[in-house]
Symmetry: D2
Subunit: 336 residues, 4 copies
């Protein structure tokens, strides 16, 4: 049993705490949040201790690993402190909104030989995983095109958006990572368009966008399209298509159950897709913890590493250059 | 080009006339109906002649074959006259409502060596055919169970029902035939329940039923279920499932097109199934003519023969015994 | 937290123990099995105590409820002892293979006012539940026909079959219960055919069957078909179709994930259905525990009651009469 | 009956001749091809006359309209001659590979008031049409994103590719047209990447590409992605997705029939999609003729007009600029 403390008791931290608690190979030993009542609520629900400080957790010999689910600006700090304390790290994405900070963090933790895994949960999704496994098994021959559809069910609150660091770093970062994961080689070129279609005020006031399309290409010519929207009223829309010389695989949306309705108006109608990422990716989040336990206990290489977190951020930076300069950008233009 | 005359210009006769006219290997040369205005309307629409009498058609040396789509009580007569005149026959189901009449007809035409094909269009349906072909190719191993779902979109008019000879002879007869076609061996036992659920008055006034379930079994033990309803509000429901030792095939319902709708209420919703048998089985009706041309021109054995028509009626008779006597009936109990 | 002890540590007992342990509203407090090493293995895996005897569990004031997953012949005894000890009961199906014993048990526990829930897990399945909810909400109008497809992935071992009490009491009992659950009124007539198609030796040696078809009807005329097979090579096949005057709902098979493959041979191909009932009905088994906790803590009426267990067995008895006598049997013929 | 002569008896001309011949509202009166044996073969098959020259057709008072299916470089000439002769025109895409020639042709025919329809068959596809109709009916609210997947089943012969004018003008032109049709407003910006993945020699020898991705945007910000491949081994892949503020519609691939196979390896597997555009778009080609008859007989505005043909070519030109200059191109940069 890997003894894990969860830092951060917001929405995602709460979920992780509950998942760790129920995971057969992990044990939730403590939680912490700068907002103490949040920590206490989660601690009580899970029957564990709410730590007084992060320091208490890093100092404890009852903690093998930390799961960092705090606000983004604190991630890099906590990673560094955890590594210094010899605790394995599972950190939510993004590592930081600032690439320089990420690079500095990378330099600091480089030699420590402590497992660091980034919370790119989609890599652990059963459908997406099976798509990649089929490709790696040669079922679709040479990969030619990747199509990623990634649309959130609803626009987050304004306050969230103000702090999120922009669509590409907050939301598309998952898709940039998934693109890399599926392409099997580094994208070298990035193109992006984006604007505010759902909420035009968003554009006017926050200079933020809510709908975007991307094209990526690797050195060997593999092509990738990503589309994003902040609002898909029919539910969280998460699809991956891999098309190759010998076939195609599609990891399609997952429903809560397989009920289909037939009336005089429509046939074969199902209920909207699972609305919330906590539900849609529940299996993925559990598998993510499983993979993390393997990293710590068996020395496995993280499926989503610190470097993967850094590379996804570099793609986001390249996409922002493309958005500003309205051109295909070389990823190497981003000062790495 | 096979020169075909169509007898009967009601709904089904009109359709056949149009199909023959457009068929690349057939030529519509004349139509006839006892109700002369009906014949003239169809004749004009197709640019052919409305014959004065059936006799004129049987006597004409410009007619190679007749397609009989008249009222059921005339079928056997017309078959006998066509055969006597040396015309090949494609006759709508059922041959007759009275098994004795069918047997007499069979005796009369037995030695004539004239092709007679019965209008069991479903045998020619691309999906149903492909299901049978997969089974014959060994894809599902030994066949164990056949499930036939067969529901009309809407209750026919009272006048139609009064003349139709009862659900089992009018509607289920298609399914009895399909069961035999798929089972690949003769059903030896039949069980039926049936009652009026859609229109209780139907039961009270006509002693007719509108919903039914059947179980058939062959000598080797293969099992078959058929369910019928006179009203499926979501469209004409026509499915066949073949389950065997190595797998299963399902010939599912066919939609007009592949549009799916996704809203906040439902996802993956399509438009109701094709409502009318003329649309649903259009390809099948065309293939039926194709098969008929092959019978006449190449001496092919009809995929749906006179004997198939007779056998389906025997199953209907056995089912009526089961309904009355509330027991599993041996098909051999029907005096053949 | 409801403190539950699990009696029986075979395959199904192990699963229940693990489910209770991970359930947020239940606590696994002890396990017991007459085969002590089995109990100890499960106890160790779940970090609980292996009781020395069932008596120890019934006597303990640390146990609120028992989950009975022992061999069928012990069920009724354990139910009676649990009720006498004031422990709530969740008992696997069937209550007993002998209806007289079930009736005796019913008489004994009738006045105790202790919650007794039967393990008809399918009532708790999200898809099947949603089908029933849609029907109850009037979405399909008046219910006319129910079609239940229920096929196991593989024939159980000979030893299991010898003790199971026959296909109808062991396997179809779930479907008889589901039929009652969906029909919303008591079936009054039952018809069955069954034979050994998968393993003919089964018939010769055990007088057992492996493939079956049933027709049920209620007093108001609602019709129900059930088909069973002991071997569906494509996975555990569990479908429910409810057809009514205003529409239809189908609770279809559930896949492990939504990957579809497209090659030059086939398109839209998914991986075989979840093979094992533990996986297929995982959500249902968890919801079953949830429902049980509600019964005990909130006084809710069990969704699957003792009487439901008894009624399903009566339908199995009626089906066996039909099988022997080859006729439609009145359920009232079974001496209740 | 509209009397139509078909110019060009290659693969597509043959198909059109057969479709006109079987169309209930059209009559095939003559065919012509510079390669006389081709014309004679088609003429014989359809029972019509093979004209000696195009001039003979333009001069004939038995011809109401011409369907131009000749080699692309002859299209504009034939359009001009047909219009001069007062014959309505249905011309295959593209009008010409050279925009200047198209513009000149446009100028010449501008005042003639003769119906000219371009062969953008996909506008007439039942599924794609229904998608657009749903959008126009407000079902998906404001349109935000359009995703067009358009992949040919197999690479055409080298000779075809040498004459085709490049992927964007030959193949993507259909998708540019479909994008305009679905977006409901003019795209103002275009981005493209393309390279040779299927046959690298294609790139080296012909400077041709076989795989491409595009992003288009309209003035109001609507986004559109198109992906192309010359080889989809699983069949002709033709999908359109319209995503909006209130929902999404997808016009998915069409199968030959609805057979699904279930084995121990895969479930729900269908046969590959219809391989050839003649089959996939058969209904669309027939509806295209229907629309054309309406234009001539009822003065309807062509659903796909000359200007639509010109606009699609402009988008192809803009896409080629983007490909060369690796940037987002304003459509207005193309000298119109």
């Amino acid at each position: 049993m890997l003894r894990i403390a969860v830092l951060g008791c917001g929405r995602i931290g709460q979920m992780h705490a509950a998942n760790v608690a129920r995971h057969p190979r992990a044990e939730l030993v403590a939680v912490f949040d700068v907002h103490r009542p949040s920590a206490e609520r989660v601690a009580q629900a899970q029957g564990v201790k709410a730590a007084e400080s992060a320091a208490e957790i890093f100092a404890s010999d009852k903690v093998d690993a930390v799961l960092i689910a705090t606000a983004t600006p604190t991630h890099a700090d906590y990673i560094e402190r955890a590594v210094a304390a010899g605790k394995a790290v599972l950190c939510e994405k993004p590592i930081d909104l600032d690439l320089a900070r990420v690079n500095a963090c990378a330099a600091k933790v480089a030699d420590a030989n402590i497992p660091i895994q980034i919370g790119f949960n989609r890599r652990y999704d059963p459908g997406h995983s099976a798509a990649r496994a089929a490709m790696l098994a040669g079922e679709i021959g040479d990969l030619h095109q990747v199509i990623i559809t990634s649309r959130d069910p609803a626009l987050p609150p304004r306050a969230y958006l103000e702090a999120a660091g922009g669509l590409f770093r907050d939301m598309t970062i998952h898709d940039f990572d998934l693109a890399r994961f599926m392409l099997g080689e580094e994208p070298t070129e990035v193109f992006a368009i984006a604007n505010a279609l759902i909420d035009p005020d968003l554009g006017a006031e926050l200079k933020e966008v809510d709908s975007a399309m991307f094209v990526l290409r690797t050195a060997s010519g593999k092509q990738c399209h990503i589309n994003n929207s902040r609002t898909a009223v029919y539910g969280y829309d998460q699809r991956v298509e891999l098309m190759g010389s010998k076939g195609m695989v599609i990891s399609d949306n997952r429903k809560q159950h397989e009920l289909r309705r037939f009336t005089s108006k429509t046939v074969e109608a199902s209920e909207p897709y699972q609305f919330f990422f906590l539900e849609r990716y529940f299996d993925a989040f559990m598998a993510e913890i499983d993979g993390f336990v393997d990293c710590v206990e068996k020395g496995a290489v993280p499926l989503a590493s610190f470097e993967d977190g850094r590379r996804a951020l570099i793609l986001a930076e390249a996409a922002y250059i493309s958005l500003r300069e309205r051109r295909l950008v070389q990823v190497s233009e981003v000062s790495i």
